[in-house]
Each structure stands twice: as structure tokens, then as C-alpha cells.
Amino acid sequence: MTTESQAGHTDVWPFPRDARCPVLPPPRLAELRDSSPLADVSLYDGTQCTMLTRFDDVRDLLMSGNVSSDGRKPGYPYISEASRANRGGRPTIDRLDAPEHDHQRFMLAADFTVKRVRQLRPFIDELVSDLLDDMQSRGGPIDLVKDFAEPIPAAVIAKMLDLPLSDADFFLDRVQRWMSDTNDPADIRQAMADISAYLENVIDERSTGDADDLISRLVRDQLVPGNLSREQLVLTLHLLITAGFDTTANTIALGTASLLQHGSAWRELAENPDDELVDTAVEEIIRYVSVAHNSVFRLTTGPVGIGGEEIPEGRAIIALTMAANHDPAKFEHPDDIDIRRDAREHLAFGKGMHQCLGQALARVELRSVFQALPRRFPNLRLAQDLSSLTFRSSIVYGVDSLPVTW
């Protein structure tokens, strides 16, 4: 059913990236994609997985009714001991199947509709504009990660959950420690415990009153009537915070870096920041950087037909959206960033019932950023070569800092 690699040994995921092109997916993926639809890959603990790398196959698998995301099931694959630890056996909606998943997702979904999040656009535009003013008055070089990319999602989440912006640094530190693939499991559990204690406190404070923020409403409408346990509420809030921080921040940073390496794209956006071009460019950036590079694990609960072969029940799967998004059969010259390409079908937010809850919010943030940043800084350039920067091995792919100047 699957193929052994030529040398007779099995590849171990994750594969190394190419230091010369650190934003692009690991080069080994293109070889696997060219040779066969299904590849045998093993994980750190010896778990044998079937890896999918072709666009149609990854999409079909994620939409299949015969796959589970329930991380408590025996045989469910984890990328590292750290990843196993950060869940602590207590699943959030990304690691639950229907009907539990649907029940919890629908409690949150109304706050993330396209209409609701688009109402945040003036707030986000002002936030972006203020940060750009700061950059301008300080002068380059600055660190685009710390001084621009991270503060945006931090402020947006703080607004949605009505948390003080001054706590953003605390969250960012704990989220990054919690998400790391290389961190010590004890420290990951501590980072989780710190955020949980903070959230427990907030829940207590909001158990009375009639405030309209998301946490107050979840307390009133879900916790008090018993639709959601206190532990589930803490985990759900933890998920909203972790999912919203690093994903958007790293897409801003890696997207900017990628555009700057293709000077004409940056210039084009600077000179012509109309909504249609910005929307198209943002989809291409999301495709190109595919930062959620590890949110791709499944377990089959029945046979799944993929690329003319059949994957049996009980098989651990890596449905590699990042590889699918760089499949030349779907996106011509996939390793070039082309802001006029129609990339809307990319799988960077996943596919199937677990597709990103916050995608509309991410789009609003990214559209605001890539409309304003190139226009304000048409001569922005990298102050350091990309290959000399430190990239992050985490649930989300990213860079520690991105020095830019103008």
C-alpha cells in the first residue's frame, strides 16, 4: 500500500527545511509528492504514519467522514512529547469529533462570523496605523515581529475577550512556551497552568454582571446553565488565545519577508493598494507561508480511498496542508509568491469540519496589514539575510525576529 524510501529506512517527520529558503516547506516533500500519493513516515516515538502531500488527496482526506481528530484515541499521532504534554489529555474542539466538536464550536462560531469580525476593521486599521506611526517616528531598523506583527493579534484578542492589553506580554510568553515543539514538557505544563489560573480568575470576576464580551457571555450562557464545564471553558479560552496569537503574527512576519524578497510585489501593493488586489495577495501570502504546519494529524476510523489506493482503518495520518499548498499540480510555480494568483482554494486553514474558526478574523487582520504596510513603507527591506535568522519549531511555524529598515 505504501512505499519505503529508497534506502530502505523510513523518513522521520518533521523533515528539515532548506536554510537558504527557510520559509518554504522542506524540500523532501516535493520528492515524496512526485513519487507516490502515500508515503510511510515515522514520528519521534516510532509511530508509523501515512503522509499525504498532494493537493487533491489532502483535501479529500480532511473532508472524509472516516477520519478522527480525537487526540485521546489510542494510536492518535503526536509530533513530539511536547505536543502530547501541551494537551494534557484534555481535548479542545480541534481535538474532538462530532457531536462534542459541533456542540462546542457552535458556542463560539457566532463571534467569528464574517459580518461580526468585519466590524472590527476600523479598530484594526487604527491599531495598524498607530504601530506604523511608531515605526516611522523611531526610524529603522526595527524588529517587525516584536514591534508590529505580534502586537496586532494580541490587541485584537484582548479586545474580543475584554482583557487588559497590558497582559499581552504575559500571554505571548506563555503561549510561545506552550506551543514550542522543543520545550521541556514540565515547562509546557507550567505555561498552561499559568494561563489557566489567569483565566479561572477572569471567569470568577465575570460570573456576575451583564457585560457583553465573549467570556462574560460564555460564562452566562454556557457555564452557568451547565452546557460547558468550568474546565472546558478554561480550555476553550486557552484555545482561542493560543490559536489567535502566533498564527496571524507569523503570517504577517513571514509574509512580509517573502514579499520583500520579490521586490515587484511589494512595490505593486505600495502603489496599488485596492481591496481586490489586497484580498488576492493575502490569500497568496496565507498559502505561501502556511504557518499552521503541524495541524495536520488524523486517525482513520474506516477505510479511506486516496489517489487510487486504500488507507485502512486505524492508520495515523499526516495530511500535510503545507505540501498541498505547494503542489505544482494545483498552483503553478508554487514556490514563487504571486500576488495576482487566485490562491483562495489553499488549505492553510485546513478543510473539513475542523477548518479554522478564526479564519475570517485572520483575513480582516491580514487585509488591514497588507493594505497599509507597503503603502506606508514602500522602501521597506530586510536588514538581515533571512538565512541568518532563527526560525521557530513550534505548532506554528515562525521566526523569532525580523529586522527591517527603510
Binding site: 473532508m63 457566532a110 462570523t113 464574517v114 483562495r344 485546513g350 473539513g352 469540519m353
Partner: protein
Amino acid sequence: MTGAAAGRLSIVPGRCIGAGNCVDVAESHFDQSDEDATVILLDDTVEQADLQRIRRAVYACPVAAILLQE
């Protein structure tokens, strides 16, 4: 062909998860419930001029909850 219906839309009951891609791509035809974000079909008739956009919305749905009969 101008103005002639080129397709008809319907929603598979109970399948939508409220991801909102259809609204992002084609708000002329789709909205989301204020209660649980699930899809509301605003117009089931697709005219020729809208067909391309509606096809993209159908394709963007992560759970194939939108059916387009052309």
C-alpha cells in the same frame, strides 16, 4: 443569456459548521446566522454573471454543505 438563471443553490441540512467562506466569497447569496454562524441562503437563483463567484463559494465550503445545480 443576460438575467437568465444559470443555476440553483441549496444547502445540505445539518452539515454547515459556520466557517463563513461562502459569505466571504459571495455575500450577495449567503449570510450567517447571528445565533450559531450557520449559513443562510439569501438567494437560491444564480444568474450567469454570478456563476463564477458562486462556484468559488461552493468550492470554498469546507464541508461541502452547498449544492449548486447548473
